[in-house]
Amino acid sequence: MDKKTNPTDQARRRFFGQVAAVASLTVAPGIILQQVAHARAPELPASDRQRWGILINTNKCAEGCDACVTACQDEFGWGPDSPNEKHSAPNQKAQWIRKVKLTDKQTGHVQTLPLMCQHCEHPPCVDVCPTGASMKRADGIVLVDKHICIGCRYCMMACPYKARSFVHEELHDQKVNAPRGKGTVEACTLCVQRVDAGRQPACVEACPEQAMIFGDLKDPESAISRELRERGGEQIRADLGLNTGIRYQGL
């Protein structure tokens, strides 16, 4: 068969595209289909047709609220309730996501925001890793392959966001979804196991203010892309040119 798409096929595709668009708009009056389930079949690899990101509205982010942090701790088993990490000092303990408070010294205006791995397009942690353990998945999620991580912590030095932590103590009873162990570096995984199952990251789901939008930055019709197009969003340390997947509004 001819590999080039013939004109009839293209017309047919356009037609079906339009029919689908109309159908999705008229499912029920008043109901807008906000998000299409994007679960992949388990046997399919992540693809670069997507790039996952989160848009965080700092104006909605409430001071004193740490729902995103506790949701992350529950999901991955790090934090003060971790039964194993009793000996390391607080500044040695894992911190996958932290609430940061910014105070304008002149006006006294206070802002808070969650800060975690920014899932850069050009991650410095991946550049410096001597073993290839620090890696970026096709869909833009930056991960540590703990199977080959030697715990040298170059990536922790390289990360401008202080997003990575090192496990100092022997662990047991880890969460099934979150293998963690002594001598390896870890960080926010953008809840990769949830994303692969078509769900939202735990922090996004837990935010009581709906200050976080998770979605596909490459899909112009996703909620996150529309919001970014209409109201914009900033990167932290945009001057570094890392093109982060996590964007902020209201900074």
């Binding site: 388990p42 399919l44 869909d139 880890q174 162990g181």
Partner: protein
């Protein structure tokens, strides 16, 4: 018959007798080698024929871990968590054995073979608390009891796995 021939024959006969117990005992390749503890429900087969798993499980796991972490392929056939869910059974006291205890499915063989594994430095060595009920109730392998003839030739799969 020279003395040399005679002694060689004696040795052969003696060798046969020595080999017999090992042949008669089907618990393992050699008599006295421990068999891993039985899985949660013996009626369910493993994800591959047992003899294949004994020989190649490490290759399947290695292959699967890279696919899962680096590409996000999350099939369950060679998932370590699923192995643990099914194979780690409670001790008589109702507690789940930890890796390192002789009742732990993986330890029972690895201790004997003196093969050190790092899997459980990071991975949970006991079943997922949310899945304990589930794995006891139904077959995680979708009711398949696999035998050698049900699956692709070994060479094909191992070739893939490397």
């Amino acid at each position: 018959m020279t003395f040399g021939q005679l002694s060689r024959q004696c040795l052969m006969v003696a060798g046969l007798f020595l080999a017999l117990p090992a042949i008669a005992d089907d618990t393992g390749p050699l008599a006295g080698v421990p068999k891993p503890r039985a899985k949660a429900n013996p009626e369910f087969g493993c994800v591959r024929p047992e003899e294949d798993m004994r020989k190649h499980h490490m290759q399947y796991l290695l292959h699967h871990r890279d696919e899962t972490l680096r590409q996000g392929i999350r099939t369950k056939q060679f998932s370590l968590a699923e192995c643990v869910n099914c194979h780690i059974t409670p001790k008589p006291d109702g507690q789940y054995a930890r890796f390192g205890e002789k009742e732990h499915f993986c330890s029972s063989c690895h201790t004997y073979a003196a093969v050190h594994i790092d899997c459980f430095e990071c991975h949970r060595d006991t079943p997922d608390p949310e899945k304990i009920q589930e794995s006891a109730m139904h077959n995680p392998h979708a009711g398949l009891k696999l035998t050698r003839k049900d699956v692709a030739p070994l060479s094909a799969t191992v070739g893939e796995a490397r």
